[in-house]
């Protein structure tokens, strides 16, 4: 049965918990892209991203009967994704997510560039180029900062939700976001 956009994620998940397979379809269509890109940005391997992405949703399917609304569904699904990613890192000896000190106050502060006015066609071309540049910059970010940035800009999550999903304090999540934003703006300053 088609769902309208007013049905919240939590209601859809509850409906699926109670046996409504259509609710899961709607839920999946809403979040499959951001979650997939989150995985793809983090592990930077399409094959691994596919595997991890499938595992995340399968874990959600298996845990449907125990689902209760304790937070936003977005936080719930990204927490699953984060945990799966941590397991993947631990399994392959990747310790960057847990050992990286992203609270370094001595990190260089990148001044926010000021956007210059441009024409529309030219601007459209620039956006595509800037998007490609953004992806390159994201790849250069530390993984916790990148994770926080992707969660905010792909998942639309707040700082608190990011902190909840990643298991860190709000300040830590906010600091990660600040550093990520500074580096990205510094990298994109050449286009502006």
């Amino acid at each position: 049965m088609p769902r309208d956009t007013d049905t919240s994620d939590e209601q859809l998940m509850i409906a699926y918990r109670d046996g409504d397979a259509g609710a899961f379809d709607t839920l999946y269509r809403r979040h499959k892209g951001p979650v997939y890109r989150y995985m793809l940005r983090q592990c930077r391997d399409a094959g691994v991203a596919d595997e991890l992405f499938q595992d995340v949703w399968m874990n959600l399917i298996r845990a449907r009967e125990s689902y209760t609304v304790q937070a936003k569904f977005t936080t719930y699904i990204y927490k699953l994704a984060h945990n799966r990613l941590i397991d993947h890192y631990r399994k392959h000896g990747h310790a960057a997510m847990v050992s990286f000190d992203d609270d370094n106050e001595d990190a260089p502060t990148i001044a926010e560039p000021v956007a210059a006015p441009r024409d529309e066609p030219e601007r459209h071309l620039d956006i595509k180029q800037q998007a490609a540049q953004l992806l390159e910059l994201l790849g250069m970010l530390p993984e916790p900062q990148r994770e926080a940035f992707v969660m905010q800009y792909e998942g639309g999550m707040s700082v608190e939700e990011i902190a909840d999903a990643t298991g860190v304090t709000r300040e830590t999540a906010k600091s990660r976001l600040r550093y990520a934003m500074a580096k990205i703006r510094q990298g994109l300053a050449t286009w502006q």
């Binding site: 399917i61 998007a131 639309g156």
Partner: protein
């Protein structure tokens, strides 16, 4: 993309760039696999269609619920039925086991043994008593004989000539005894039967004769000495050089038990045959009581006296001279046993146990009668009475001695 309260921190330009860069999507196969798994997970459980309110009750949404209200009660009922049936079955089996304990507790031979004994308790006890009594008296006699004769000389084989002559005499004697028994008993069935038994024993040898004797009634097999014969033998035995001393010594268990028992039974039967032969003659209506029998015995030495000698003498060469001195050799016993058989039943019918009247008496009475037998030199009677006394009063000091 959802917008939250931290939206003011999000850069609109970055948002546009992210949207422009977000062209990656999961493969369609992966989508299909995940959606199929989701449907399979839901479809694995039977569902009941119900209506759930969605969006704060604004849009009721039909939801298939996976509730089976009948599942739990039916499961509980099934478990209860199984439990009750199992308990009842176990209880029933346990009850069966308790109701039939002897089948499993006792062995078949033990359980089957009391049944015949219960059917014929009197006969069994009497038979066992008689057998025991016979065995005890026979052992006592064997011990007695062992004391009286040299150990090896008694078992020495007699000369073949003496055996032949003795056998001849025995055959004549048996023929005459058979005629006498027929005359005395008037050709009764029991006499004929005993005669037939004797013939059978003679033909089959001592072993089969023993079997025939054992199969006979217990009262007939008891070696009760005939009083008249004992009294008649007493004067003859008195001057003999080897009178039997009634020392109540225990039976020597040196030989094999079976051999000893067979031999003692044979000796007893032989002795009984010899000693019962005279009463048959004496009890005959046509014959005079004691003088006639003694005269008959003396007038016909080939009948009674040789047999008696053959039974009691230790060597065939000394058959004529010795009486009741040593046990007879085995061949003589074989010959004499069948001859005594015809008169045995008649005598046994007239005889009573030596301890008649003493069954309910104290041990002192038994000892008095025992002393009386010894005083009368009735050694065989004394031995038999002593054996019975020992059997009845095993704890008495006299029995222990």
């Amino acid at each position: 993309m959802a917008v939250n309260e931290d939206n003011q921190e999000r850069d609109p330009h970055l948002v546009r760039l992210v949207q422009a860069a977000s062209g990656e999507e999961p493969p369609a196969a992966l989508d299909a696999a995940i959606l199929a798994a989701a449907r399979r997970e839901v479809g694995a459980r039977p569902q009941v269609v119900s209506v759930a309110g969605g969006g704060g009750g604004e849009m009721p949404t039909p939801v298939v619920r996976a509730k089976r209200n009948w599942y739990v009660p039916v499961s509980i009922a099934a478990v209860m039925v199984l439990s009750v049936s199992l308990v009842l079955t176990m209880h029933h089996e346990k009850g069966d086991e308790l109701s039939q304990p002897p089948k499993t507790a006792s062995a078949p031979p033990r359980s089957s043994a009391p049944a015949p004994a219960a059917e014929a308790p009197a006969a069994a006890s009497e038979k066992s008593d008689t057998t025991l009594r016979d065995a005890v008296s026979a052992k006592a006699k064997v011990a007695e004989e062992k004391r009286a004769e040299p150990p090896k000389a008694a078992d020495a084989a007699p000369a073949p000539e003496a055996y032949a002559e003795l056998a001849k005499k025995q055959r004549q004697e048996k023929a005459e005894a058979a005629v006498d028994s027929v005359v005395v008993l008037g050709g009764s069935g029991s006499a004929r039967k005993d005669q037939a038994d004797g013939t059978l024993m003679r033909e089959q040898g001592p072993a089969s004769g023993m079997g025939a004797l054992k199969s006979a009634p217990a009262r007939e097999r008891r070696p009760d000495p005939f009083p008249a014969a004992s009294e008649r033998e007493a004067p003859a035995a008195a001057p003999s050089s080897a009178p039997v001393t009634p020392a109540p010594t225990p039976v020597q268990p040196s030989r094999d038990a079976a051999e000893t028992r067979n031999r003692s039974d044979a000796d007893r039967n032989t002795t009984r045959g010899v000693m019962q032969e005279a009463p048959v003659v004496a009890a005959a209506p046509s014959a005079p009581p004691a003088p006639a029998s003694s005269a008959k015995a003396s007038a016909a030495p080939g009948r009674a006296a040789p047999v008696e000698d053959s039974v009691t003498s230790s060597a065939p060469a000394q058959v004529e001279g010795r009486v009741m001195a040593t046990p007879p050799p085995p061949p003589a016993r074989m010959m004499t046993r069948p001859a005594a058989a015809p008169a045995k039943s008649a005598i046994a019918q007239q005889r009573l146990p030596l301890w008649r009247g003493l069954e309910d008496q104290p041990p002192e009475k038994w000892l008095e009668r025992l002393a009386e037998f010894k005083r009368d030199n009735r050694q065989a009677d004394a031995d038999e009475l002593l054996a019975e006394f020992r059997r009845r009063f095993p704890d008495h000091p006299a029995s222990v001695r």
